[in-house]
Symmetry: C2
């Protein structure tokens, strides 16, 4: 993609003034490779982001390689959540895991989650965002338990970006956190996605599409129809920029900035895309190695093939946002290499620097207040 994330939003709102320093807590033990990947990624990231500071969380042995990293503080955790650990294990057994301790850096000493420059009783939280390559289910569960959801948000969602034909990104959510969604949840996703794109991509009024199926068929389930109504209302009230229904191919056309769907559909479309891209890449490789002549042609074609590969390289846009929590948590792909993990750090940095948490709260309040039948947050939300 030629357009990288913009670090400075258009028309900055006073409360969106970028943070001058950004502190990121890193779960150095997460992912398939742990510190062998996360520490080199941290080093490269620090080189490119002079305003960044890191809180590295890991075991004593895991953080041994972190010596000499500038603008870095180490926090020791004694346990590690593995990629296979059940959610219950991460949540109830491993209370001193690097994942949990990293997330806890987002809370102030008395439990407030804000920016590290937000005044809070007893001092600010240690970090503005957290990045982990640990397993998604555990990460979501622990983050939800430690941070709680924002007022007005019933369900946190997972958002990622996919490249599109406009050489930009389409943000898609939810990607698997919620298998059954109500129309209200889909509206919340639309609002949170809008805040994310405004913060990270610098597009203040990003267009939102509701994922639906072809005109030929009966247009969507009852949930989707009702969600369409809610999104239209929110659009008419100026709370979001609602484009209307979109179909699966619009994700890659770049018809809208944000595509909203339930977590089952989002997960299926993400995995299907990964499978198709991987099959096509493999077929290209096979055709260019089929014969000595084909291998010769591959040499000539190498520069074009490399440009192609880099253009759709998923490592460039690694880093999914867990939205709706009282703290910014980003999830790296478990199999990420150092380059990919560095991308996730950069996405978390942009989001924190441009005050994603404040933006979500500013947007969600008025949207929900305008909804018919809106009631105040449930006890769980206010926890």
């Amino acid at each position: 993609m030629r357009l990288g994330p913009a670090s400075t939003p258009v028309n900055p709102h006073p409360s969106h003034a970028p943070l001058t320093t950004v502190r990121i807590a890193v779960d150095c033990m997460g992912g398939d490779h742990g510190p062998a990947v996360t520490l080199p990624a941290c080093r490269a990231f620090l080189d490119k982001h002079p305003a960044a500071e890191l809180v590295l969380v890991g075991t004593e042995a895991g953080l041994a390689g972190a010596a000499g990293l500038p603008r870095t503080r180490r926090v020791i955790a004694t346990e590690v959540v593995t990629m296979d650990d059940a959610v219950e294990v991460a949540l109830r057994k491993k209370r001193d895991s690097s994942m949990r301790v990293a997330i806890a850096q987002l809370k102030g000493p008395h439990g407030e989650a804000g920016g590290h420059d937000t005044p809070a009783v007893g001092g600010p939280p240690a970090a503005d965002a957290c990045v982990s390559a640990g397993n998604t289910g555990a990460l979501m569960a622990v983050a939800r338990y430690v941070l709680k959801t924002l007022p007005g948000i019933d369900r946190p969602a997972i958002a990622t970006v996919m490249p599109n034909r406009q050489d930009r990104y389409t943000t898609v959510l939810d990607l698997g956190a919620n298998v059954d969604c109500t129309p209200e949840h889909l509206l919340q996703f639309a609002v949170m996605g809008s805040a994310l794109v405004a913060a990270v991509e610098g597009r203040e009024e990003p267009a939102v599409g509701l994922l639906n199926i072809g005109e030929e068929a009966i247009k969507g389930s009852e949930t989707i129809k009702r969600a369409g109504e809610l999104l239209r209302q929110a659009g008419a009230a100026g709370h979001i920029n609602f484009f209307g229904n979109v179909e699966g191919n619009d994700i890659y056309k770049g018809t809208v900035d944000i595509v909203v769907c339930d977590g089952f559909v989002g997960n299926v479309l993400l995995k299907t895309s990964e499978g198709l891209a991987s099959m096509l890449t493999e077929f290209i490789r096979q055709e260019f190695t089929r014969s000595p002549l084909a291998k010769l042609a591959a040499l000539a074609a190498m520069p074009a093939l490399k440009r192609f590969k880099s253009r759709v390289d998923p490592r460039r846009y690694n880093g999914a946002a867990l939205l709706g929590l009282r703290g910014l948590v980003f999830k790296s792909h478990g199999s990420a290499d150092a380059y990919a993990f560095e991308s996730a750090l950069a996405r978390a940095y942009d989001a924190a620097r441009n005050r994603l948490l404040v933006r979500v709260q500013e947007r969600i309040g008025p949207t929900l207040a305008a909804m018919p039948g809106f009631t105040t947050a449930s006890p769980q939300q206010a926890a």
Copy 2:
């Protein structure tokens, strides 16, 4: 794909003895291009299938170009369902459309739909299968109205194939006919899909996967969990070959022969795949035309790129099956060219020749009878 559809099934069952001649009714007016595409496709198809006979349905003017086609009968219809016509228009206004008349060829003179060699009161039906490139919603509605559903089937489904890394096809259903599915519907899809793959691909015990989401997340909705139980029971009873849950990427890995999902998810994954494939193809084209040097490289790379393109050419597997009706209807892509439409004719031919209708009925009865709480067909099904 190197493995084309097999014309002769393994272990033929007596009632599966292939038809000696196969009659296909063709809606010559359907699709974006009408007779300009369908008639050349019919000619090419007849050349390659000496045991095939065609019933060409269209307007007088539309069928003018059909003169001289061997083994062909013409049936005149006075109306045409356009690609934009609402379902209601196709169903209630255009009662003499080429689409409807073509479908009606599958019924015997007294309303029985079977094979054209099936004894029926007053004579056999005029055709064994029907192919149309008309709009999906109209085709499904008209087919359902004219033919009715098979006993034991609540909802017809749309099945298509996608290429996979094994250089075979993965059959996916439903693709958009049903947005809300019960676990029982998903079981019916599994059974119908198994019959389709047995008839068209010659795999008598095809493996069925239930589309679900990653292990990390809560595993699927209540509907999916219950569907998993039903499919496991049907597998244990030997009615289907149930593999278990699969994820989106398994479609392209070729983990199973058949992937079952609801129509919303199926439509999204199909459209998403189309969008991604089209974006990647466009990016490859752009990179190979970016500079004079790249264009030169493209010349050298042409044979490999062509082999790649042909390997994933969607025209090769055009032709979705409308399953669960008392007659075999196949839907071609609306934008199909002659080569693609010929593929749809060939798929319909294979299905009819290998008695897909009989196979579906043979499989669905015992499966449903074994289900707890099974009751006899509803009045609509028995109509």
